[in-house]
């Protein structure tokens, strides 16, 4: 046994500590599944392009085509979505980013379908069944739609937006003394005689309402075919497309007064699922790609970056064990040296 100087004993002790630390962390992580922390910041990023998102840790969530129920998607066109989240103690923002080579923002032609993305939250504490929940396990789905986004940015997409050279000189109920062909929806059509022809609008269908305030639809579901527009719409957001990438930000208050809305509590963990639709592939409804669960913990107010990802006591105990192991290693090497150089028998 060679003479081991003090500095080398310290280095060896550190190495042992590090090795144990890595192993312990690996065990902890493996038990918890894919993780994300909604980082606390004093101010939410203002847009998807806000530079403040850059140092927010992300989770890359793989997506697979929905094949549990017809109509199915045969092959995924989007393979993953990256998810980041920031909260400021009052509101939470999620940023979803995914690759999509075409910006499909119109559902205003018989053969056009729009891009969309959704986040699914459990309502209550039960883990929801993947895909839409189940009776007794409601989910709250925030569904961002690219055509609703375009409606807000450019005004509700009308026939003239799809067909710029379109002309029609009269419609029942449209006042041709005050309105000019080819007219504009909804302004020129909001009369008792004209409205019933646009029966989706008249019936209050959320798809048909021209005055949009949010590009995100707040919905509930209790299983396949049950997605329902919530009475109280409490989710806002914005999505932008740039050079083949959609960046969509969803924003909502952490706590809302609604028993059917997701309750997002700092310090608590919740399993979230994601879905993406690629309009260019005529994806809509059940024809989508979905993810498995991502465990998201909302970092409480006042904590810094690098979330813990586990209960504090785990780290206190773990740290004590690591220090003990490091000291033990140091002592062991020291003892081995003493034995080999004969500088002493027992302590």
């Amino acid at each position: 046994m060679v003479d081991v100087p003090l500095i080398n004993k310290a280095a060896l002790a550190l190495l042992v500590t590090f090795a144990f630390g890595l192993a312990a962390q690996g065990v902890v992580l493996a038990q918890q599944g894919p993780q994300l922390t909604s980082i606390y910041r004093s101010k939410l990023p203002s847009s998807p392009a806000d530079g403040a998102w850059k140092d927010v840790p992300l989770a890359e969530v793989p997506l697979t085509p929905q094949m549990a129920i017809k109509p199915t998607l045969l092959a995924a066109t989007v393979s993953s979505v990256s998810v980041r989240s920031v909260n400021d103690g009052a509101k939470v923002a999620f940023l979803l980013e995914w690759a999509d080579s075409s910006r499909d923002v119109s559902a205003s032609r018989q053969d056009l379908f729009r891009d969309a993305a959704a986040i699914e939250f459990p309502v209550g504490t039960d883990i929801p069944a993947i895909c839409m929940g189940v009776r007794g396990q409601m989910v709250n789905i925030w569904h961002w739609k690219a055509d609703w986004q375009e409606d807000i940015v450019k005004g509700y997409q009308d026939v003239v937006d799809t067909y710029p050279n379109f002309y029609k000189d009269a419609y029942p109920g449209v006042n041709i003394l005050t309105a000019t062909p080819p007219f504009r929806f909804p302004a020129d059509f909001d009369t008792p005689a004209a409205r019933p022809f646009m029966i989706g609008w008249q019936a209050g269908n959320p798809m048909s309402q021209p005055q949009r305030t949010s590009p995100v639809e707040d919905t509930n579901a209790v299983g396949y075919s049950t997605i329902t527009h919530k009475v109280k719409q409490q989710v806002d957001g914005v999505g932008t497309w740039d050079q083949g990438v959609w960046r969509v930000m969803f924003v909502r208050a952490l706590q809302v007064e609604d028993v059917d809305a997701a309750s997002i509590t700092p310090g608590k963990e919740m399993p979230l699922a994601f879905a993406v639709w690629n309009g260019a592939n005529q994806e809509v409804g059940a024809r989508k790609q979905t993810s498995t669960f991502l465990n998201v913990t909302v970092e409480p107010a006042g904590e810094n970056a690098a979330g813990l990802g586990a209960e504090p006591w785990v780290f206190i105990v773990g740290l004590a064990l690591l220090l003990a192991a490091g000291y033990g290693a140091f002592r062991l090497v020291d003892r081995m040296e003493r034995v080999s150089t004969g500088t002493g028998h027992e302590q």
Partner: protein, 378 residues
């Protein structure tokens, strides 16, 4: 999947829902022989229902010329291509229905179909009056015509086993139990357009402004008041009549549609091989060669044409044809008595009375009471 019986193909078939026959089924007979393609039916429907924003391209009722026309273009050619071979063994269809073909296929949908692109919906009357073939020197009229075309009037068939209803992931399409009329719940639809893709007749139409889908509603507000739909009552040629249609075993031969379909077998369904048990029936055109018609209306074509040619000597059959266009009101029952066809409403009150043969009046060349000559001036 459930097993349901489809009498048009004389066998059981698969359908996603159990058979739940309505109390009464809305039906109609269109006499192709009398249609002049004036498109009044299309205009009646357009004015009543599809004059809104986003509906500009929609014709819930349309009249297209066969063989080259179609709205949307080539809808039937594409539907038949998707279905594969359509074989019959006598009355029994031995090929696959649209749903059975989807079950055997791999495209992940409950019904085989396709989504027409925007251009296919344009030019609704393309192919109008185009004949099948060229007229060579020496061609002369014969029956059937050596060079032929005919008009096909189409509305939603309000099928007993609708493809649209089977394909909606949200059960947003329903069939009314009181009259079998198929409707889209305008609150529930989210514009997925599976129904547009699935309907082989392409009578489900997506509103490009409201972003939900719409279809022929069988003028149900009129039907509820004991009136026939606008396309029927507006028809100049008086080619249409509505009535309740039943299965062959339950046919009410005093009801006009049941009588023509089951009694005389003079009216046939369109493309029964789709397996949807559609409820609009057609009297096939007698001037068109049989092979083309068999593909559309099945093997009963020759008999139907023969019966139509003999109708002038069959007072009951003639009576139903005379009642076409004779009243705005729904004819529950009819009778032919002493050379007159009489129609009755649900209460049994007489609502129409039409002679089978138009009375002849002779008007003298000189009107002695008015001291004028009558002129036969066009």
């Amino acid at each position: 999947m459930s097993k349901v019986f489809n009498w048009q193909i004389n066998r059981e078939m698969d359908y996603p829902y159990e058979a739940a026959p309505p109390k009464k089924q809305f039906g109609a007979v269109f006499d192709i022989n009398k249609c002049i393609a004036c498109q009044t039916c299309s205009m009646m429907c357009k004015n009543a229902w599809t004059s809104g924003r986003g509906q500009e391209y929609m014709f819930w009722n349309n009249v297209e010329t066969k063989p080259y026309g179609g709205y949307p273009q080539q809808w039937d050619v594409q539907a038949l291509s998707l279905l594969g071979p359509q074989t019959w063994n006598g009355n029994t269809y031995t090929g696959k229905t649209l749903i059975e073909a989807a079950m055997a296929g791999t495209d992940g949908r409950p019904v085989v179909g396709y989504t027409p692109d925007a251009l296919e919906w344009a030019n609704p009357n393309i192919g109008e009056d185009e004949s099948a073939g060229l007229i060579e020197s020496g061609t002369y009229f014969a029956l059937p015509h050596p060079v032929w075309s005919f008009y096909l009037q189409r509305v939603c068939n309000h099928c007993s086993y609708p493809a649209c209803l089977a394909s909606c992931p949200r059960t947003a399409i329903y069939k009314r139990p009181e009259d079998g009329i198929v409707l889209v719940d305008q609150e529930r639809c989210r514009g997925y357009r599976e129904c547009v893709r699935s309907c082989p007749f392409k009578k489900m139409m997506y509103n490009i402004v409201t972003r939900v889908s719409e279809k022929c509603i069988a003028c149900f507000p009129r039907v509820e008041q004991g009136l026939q739909p606008y396309c029927t009552t507006g028809c100049i040629g008086r080619i249409r009549i509505n009535g309740w249609i039943h299965s062959p075993q339950e046919a009410d031969l005093e009801s006009p549609v049941d009588f023509l379909v089951h009694g005389r077998k003079i009216a046939l369904p369109l493309y029964p091989q789709f397996g949807l048990m559609n409820n609009i029936y057609y009297v096939p055109p007698i001037h068109v060669p049989t092979p083309y018609l068999v593909q559309m209306f099945g093997l009963g074509v020759e008999q139907a044409i023969q019966r139509y040619k003999e109708a002038k000597d069959d007072p009951e059959t003639l009576g139903v044809f005379m009642l076409m266009g004779a009243t705005e009101r729904w004819v529950e029952k009819f009778r032919v008595v002493n050379g007159e066809a009489i129609g009755y409403d649900a209460k049994g009150d007489e609502i129409a009375r039409v002679p089978l043969k138009e009375p002849v009046q002779i008007r003298q060349n000189y009107d002695a009471s008015r001291l004028v000559f009558r002129h036969n001036t066009p």
